[in-house]
C-alpha cells in the first residue's frame, strides 16, 4: 500500500510544470509556496462525499458549490435568488406550479448534455424510492423537497414542478447544495461510488480525491458564466484548528476557513487579509417552558436580561459574532425586523422579575455540548452564562455532552432532562428555523425540534401563513410580526449570530465570503 503514496501525482501538463518549478525552489523555501493560479484551501475535515444530494456539512458544500450549479443561486453577497442553470421561471397563482426555462448549450463535465431530463432524473433519484438509482443515496436532506409532487420535462429546456401544497421556501431550497444538479450519466456509470467521481456543470471540474490528503478541482474552460481565473483549487482536510493555523502561517495553504477566534490576532499584521461575513446563523438557549421555573414568562425574560451577551460575543468569541436580537438572523435582510432591540444586560431588572415571579434561588440544569456544527465555543460560553445566572440568584449546574450524544438528549425534548440547553441553527431561508422550532405542531413528540415546548397560537398562525404565501412582501410582514411576539415571549435566550471568518494570504485577490456561508471561488485570483 505504501506504493500508493509513493506514486507521483500530476495534474495536467501545465500544472505538472508548475509543480516541478515549485520543487525546484522548494529545496530551500520548503514545501510551502504553491504556484500562481493554484489555490490551496484549508478545510476543517475530509468531505464525506462529493454527491451534493448525499451530504449535509457546510465543509462539503464549500467544494460542491464550485463543482455544480443549481437551477437558481444566491446573488453575490445576498440570500436572494437569481437565475443559474434556469434562465427564467414562472410561479402559478396558487403557488403550486413552478415552470423553469433551462439554459441552453450547457454540458456536464463528463460531456453529457444538461437538459430537462437531467433535472427530472436528479429530483426523482432523491425522492422516488423506486427510482433505479435511489440506492446511490442515502439522501438525508431530501425532505427539503418533500413538497414536490411531480417533476416533468415539458420539452428539452422546460421543466415543471408540481407541489402538493404552496411552499414559499422552494426557490431558496433549490439554491441550496441539496438542489445542485448532478450528471445522470455519471451517476449511471459510477453508481454508489458517484460521490467519489462527481460530475456537474460548475466552474471547476473534479480532478482527484486522495483520501485525507487532498481534493483537487481544475478550471472548467467552458463554464457558462465564464471560465474561472484560477487554474486549479486544492482542498486540504486539516481537522485540527491549531494545525490549520500553523499551515497558514507557514504558507502551506492560501485560504483558511473557520479561524479560531483566539488565533485571529496572528493574522492581523502584514501578509494576510481577514474576511468576515455575518450569516444566517443563530445561537440560543432553549428554555423548558413545560416544567420548572421557565414556565413563567418573567423568568424567561429575566434570563435574557441576566446574560451578558456583549461579554460573550466580544470576550469569549473575540468579536467573531454579533448579539442576536431575536429568533431571525439579520442576514435575512428582507424578513428581519429592524425595530427589534436585543435584551440589554440588566441584572437588576432580572432580579426584579425573579422577585415578582417568586423564584429567587431556583436550581437550573443546563445542558451544554462540547462542540458541534455551528455551536462556536459552547463550553466557555456556557460557563459565562452559568456565572451570569448565578449573579441574579440562580443555582445552575452544567451537564456536558459530546455533540451526537447532546442531540440525542436535547432533540427528544427537555422534559425530564433539564431547564435549558444550548442550540444553534443555520438555515438558508427565514422559514425553516421558526417552522421547526417554535410551532406547537413542532413539539418533539410530533417530530419537530420545539424541544422547549413553546406554544403561542398567534405565532403558529403567522408561521403557517408565511410559509404558504408566495408574496415576499406579505411574508416579510408576517415574519416581522412573529419576531416581535417571540422576542416578548422569550422562549429562548437569544445570544449570538455567528460571523463566518476566513484568512487569505496576500497572493489571493477577489476573495469574498457569502452570507450563505458557501465558498465561491469563480472570481478568485491567485498570484
Amino acid at each position: 500500500m505504501v506504493a500508493l503514496y509513493l506514486t507521483r501525482w500530476y495534474l495536467g501538463t501545465g500544472l505538472a510544470a508548475a509543480a516541478m518549478a515549485a520543487v525546484g525552489f522548494g529545496v530551500t523555501a520548503t514545501q510551502a509556496q504553491s504556484p500562481p493560479g493554484v489555490l490551496i484551501v484549508g478545510q476543517i475535515a475530509e468531505p464525506q462525499s462529493l454527491d451534493p444530494h448525499a451530504v449535509t456539512a457546510v465543509n462539503d458544500f464549500r467544494i460542491l458549490m464550485n463543482v455544480y450549479d443549481g437551477l437558481v443561486r444566491y446573488a453575490d453577497g445576498t440570500l436572494e435568488v437569481e437565475p443559474a442553470l434556469a434562465t427564467d421561471w414562472e410561479i402559478s397563482d396558487d403557488g403550486l406550479t413552478y415552470t423553469f426555462t433551462l439554459r441552453e448549450g450547457v454540458n456536464f463535465h463528463d460531456g453529457s448534455p444538461f437538459d430537462a431530463d437531467a433535472v427530472v432524473f436528479n429530483f426523482e433519484r432523491m425522492l422516488d424510492e423506486d427510482h433505479p438509482y435511489h440506492d446511490t443515496g442515502p439522501f438525508p436532506l431530501s425532505f427539503f423537497f418533500s413538497a414536490i409532487d411531480e417533476v416533468q420535462a415539458v420539452d428539452t429546456h422546460t421543466v415543471e414542478f408540481t407541489l402538493n401544497e404552496p411552499f414559499a421556501p422552494f426557490l431558496s431550497n433549490l439554491a441550496y447544495p441539496t438542489g445542485l444538479i448532478v450528471s445522470p450519466a455519471a451517476v449511471m456509470e459510477h453508481g454508489e461510488a458517484f460521490g467519489r467521481n462527481p460530475s456537474g456543470t460548475g466552474a471547476f471540474r473534479f480532478e482527484e480525491w486522495q483520501s485525507n490528503t487532498r481534493v483537487v478541482v481544475t478550471a472548467n474552460p467552458d463554464y457558462w458564466d465564464g471560465a474561472p481565473s484560477l487554474e486549479a483549487v486544492v482542498f486540504r482536510p486539516l481537522t485540527d484548528a491549531n494545525t490549520r493555523v500553523a499551515e497558514m502561517l507557514a504558507g502551506g495553504i492560501d485560504v483558511m476557513v473557520e479561524v479560531p477566534p483566539t488565533a485571529l490576532v496572528q493574522f492581523e499584521g502584514e501578509g494576510y487579509t481577514i474576511h468576515e461575513q455575518a450569516g444566517p446563523h443563530v445561537w440560543f438557549l432553549i428554555l423548558n417552558t413545560r416544567e420548572g421555573p421557565f414556565t413563567d414568562v418573567r423568568v424567561r425574560q429575566a434570563a435574557n436580561y441576566a446574560i451578558d451577551k456583549r461579554a460573550i460575543v466580544e470576550d469569549v468569541l473575540e468579536g467573531t459574532a454579533t448579539i442576536a436580537a431575536g429568533p431571525t438572523p439579520e442576514a435575512f435582510a428582507w424578513a428581519y425586523n429592524d425595530d427589534l432591540e436585543p435584551y440589554p444586560y440588566d441584572p437588576d431588572r432580572a432580579r426584579e422579575l425573579l422577585a415578582e415571579a417568586g423564584v429567587e434561588g431556583a436550581e437550573l440544569t443546563f445542558l451544554v455540548t462540547e462542540g458541534g456544527s455551528g455551536m462556536l465555543d459552547p463550553v466557555p460560553m456556557g460557563t459565562v452564562i452559568q456565572s451570569n445566572l448565578a449573579d441574579v440568584g440562580f443555582d445552575v449546574s452544567i451537564r456536558t455532552y459530546e455533540w451526537n450524544s447532546f442531540l440525542g438528549v436535547v432533540n427528544p425534548g427537555l422534559e425530564g432532562q433539564g431547564d435549558m440547553a444550548q442550540m444553534a441553527w443555520m438555515t438558508n431561508d427565514p422559514d425553516t428555523l421558526p417552522f421547526l422550532t417554535l410551532r406547537t405542531e413542532a413539539f418533539p413528540e410530533n417530530g419537530g425540534f420545539n424541544s422547549g415546548y413553546y406554544s403561542n397560537p398567534e405565532v403558529d398562525e403567522l408561521l403557517e401563513k408565511a410559509r404558504t404565501s408566495t408574496d415576499q412582501d406579505e411574508r416579510a410582514e408576517l415574519y416581522r410580526e412573529m419576531q416581535e411576539i417571540v422576542h416578548e415571549d422569550a422562549p429562548w435566550v437569544f445570544v449570538a449570530n455567528w460571523k463566518q471568518n476566513a484568512v487569505t494570504s496576500d497572493a489571493v485577490e477577489n476573495f469574498a465570503l457569502q452570507p450563505s456561508f458557501f465558498l465561491l471561488l469563480h472570481d478568485v485570483v491567485k498570484n
Binding site: M1, V2, L4, Y5, L6, T7, R8, A19, M20, A22, V23, G26, A29, T30, Q31, I40, E46, Q48, S49, D51, T56, G137, P138, P140, F143, A193, R196, S211, N212, T213, R214, V234, R236, P237, L238, T239, D240, T243, A246, E247, A250, G252, G372, S373, Y401, E402, W403, N404, S405, F406, L407, G408, V409, N411, P412, M423, W425, P444, G447, F449
Partner: protein, 315 residues
C-alpha cells in the same frame, strides 16, 4: 516454535471476536446514532428513521453484528457510509501510514532508549548518567502532543525547515525524501516518551546484570570494558528489555492517535477518532479489528524473540 506460533495465532481469534463484541456494545450504549450524526440539527425522529432504513441500520444490533461477522469471514468489511468507500481500502491505506509512523518511532526509541540506558548504567552516578537521567525525566513528563505543537512552531513556522503537516507535499514531492521530511517531527514527538521509558528500564536491567558473577568473570579474564557491557551484559539484559519494548509498541500505537491529530498524519488513529464521532460503526469495527490484530502480533513477536534469547522461557 512453528507450532507455538500457530497456537498463539489461533488463540488470537477469540480475543479479536471479544473485542468486536465490546466495540459493538459500547457504540450501541453511547447516545446518538449515525443518522443523527449526519442530520445534525435536522434529526427529527421521522428523518432519523428514514435515513437509518436507507443505511440498513433499522435491524436489531444482534442482527447487525452477525451480518457483519458473516461478511467479515468472507473478507467483506462493508462500506463506510461516512467516507463513501469500502472499509478495507480505507483501513489499509490509513494503517500503512500509521505503521510507517509508529514503526519508525519504535525503532528510534528502541535504539536510543537502550543505548541511553546502557551508557547510563555503565557510568552509574557519572555526569553522563546524571545528564541522561535528567533528559529522560523531562522526556517522560512532556505530553507528546504539546511537544509536537512546539516543534511545529519552531521548525515549521519560525525556521521553515520542515513542513507543518501531512505525509507528502501537495506540490511535487511524493518520493522517499519528501516522506522523510514530513516524518521527522511526528516520529520524533512520538518517540520521546517511549525512549524515556525504555532508557529507564534498560538502565535498571543493565545495573542488575552488571552485578552478576559472569560479568566479574569476564572482567577478570581481561575482556575490555566495552565488550563486557555491550556484548556480554547487554545480551543478558535484553531478556528483560524486550518485553518493555513490546509494551511500548502498544503505547506508541495508541500515542500515534494524538500525534496524527497534531500533524494531520493520515493514519488509522485519526480515522478512528473521526469514525467514532460520526458513529460509523463499520469503519470503527474494521479499524479496531486490524489494530487489535496488530497488538496480538506484537506480543507474539516479543514472546518468540524472548524465547529465542533465553532458553529458560518455554514456548
Amino acid at each position: 516454535v512453528g507450532r507455538y506460533i500457530l497456537r498463539r495465532l489461533l488463540s488470537a481469534i477469540p480475543v479479536l471476536l471479544g473485542i468486536t463484541v465490546i466495540v459493538f456494545l459500547i457504540m450501541s450504549l453511547i447516545p446518538g446514532d449515525p443518522a443523527m450524526a449526519i442530520l445534525g440539527s435536522y434529526a427529527t425522529p421521522e428523518n432519523v428513521e428514514r435515513l437509518n432504513r436507507q443505511l440498513g441500520l433499522d435491524r436489531t444490533l444482534i442482527e447487525q453484528y452477525f451480518i457483519w461477522l458473516g461478511n467479515i469471514v468472507q473478507g467483506d468489511f462493508g462500506r463506510s457510509f461516512s467516507l463513501n468507500r469500502p472499509v478495507l481500502d480505507e483501513v489499509l491505506d490509513r494503517f500503512s501510514a500509521t505503521l510507517i509512523l509508529a514503526g519508525v518511532s519504535l525503532v528510534t526509541c528502541s535504539i536510543l532508549g537502550v543505548a541511553a540506558g546502557v551508557v547510563s548504567a555503565a557510568r552509574q552516578y557519572g555526569p553522563a548518567d546524571k545528564a541522561i537521567t535528567l533528559a529522560v525525566l523531562v522526556g517522560i513528563s512532556i505530553p507528546s502532543f504539546f511537544l509536537g505543537m512546539m516543534m511545529i512552531l519552531l521548525f515549521a513556522i519560525q525556521l521553515r525547515w520542515l513542513p507543518v503537516s501531512g505525509m507528502y507535499s501537495i506540490f511535487g514531492g511524493g518520493d522517499l525524501k519528501d516522506l522523510l521530511r514530513h516524518l521527522v517531527m511526528p516520529a520524533a514527538a512520538l518517540s520521546v516518551v517511549a525512549t524515556g521509558v525504555i532508557a529507564r528500564l534498560s538502565r535498571s536491567a543493565m545495573l542488575e546484570v552488571l552485578r552478576q558473577d559472569f560479568v566479574r568473570t569476564a572482567r577478570a579474564k581481561g575482556v575490555p570494558e566495552s565488550g563486557v557491557v555491550w556484548r556480554h551484559a547487554l545480551k543478558v539484559a535484553m531478556v528483560s528489555i524486550i518485553p518493555v519494548i513490546g509494551v511500548q509498541a502498544g503505547f506508541v500505537l495508541s500515542g500515534a492517535v494524538y500525534i496524527e491529530m497534531v500533524f494531520q498524519w493520515p493514519g488509522v488513529g485519526r480515522m478512528l477518532v473521526e469514525a467514532i464521532l460520526r458513529r460509523d460503526l463499520l469503519l470503527v469495527q474494521g479499524g479496531v479489528v486490524i489494530v487489535a490484530a496488530c497488538y496480538v502480533l506484537f506480543n507474539l513477536i516479543v514472546d518468540v524473540s524472548q524465547s529465542l534469547l533465553d532458553p529458560r522461557v518455554k514456548t
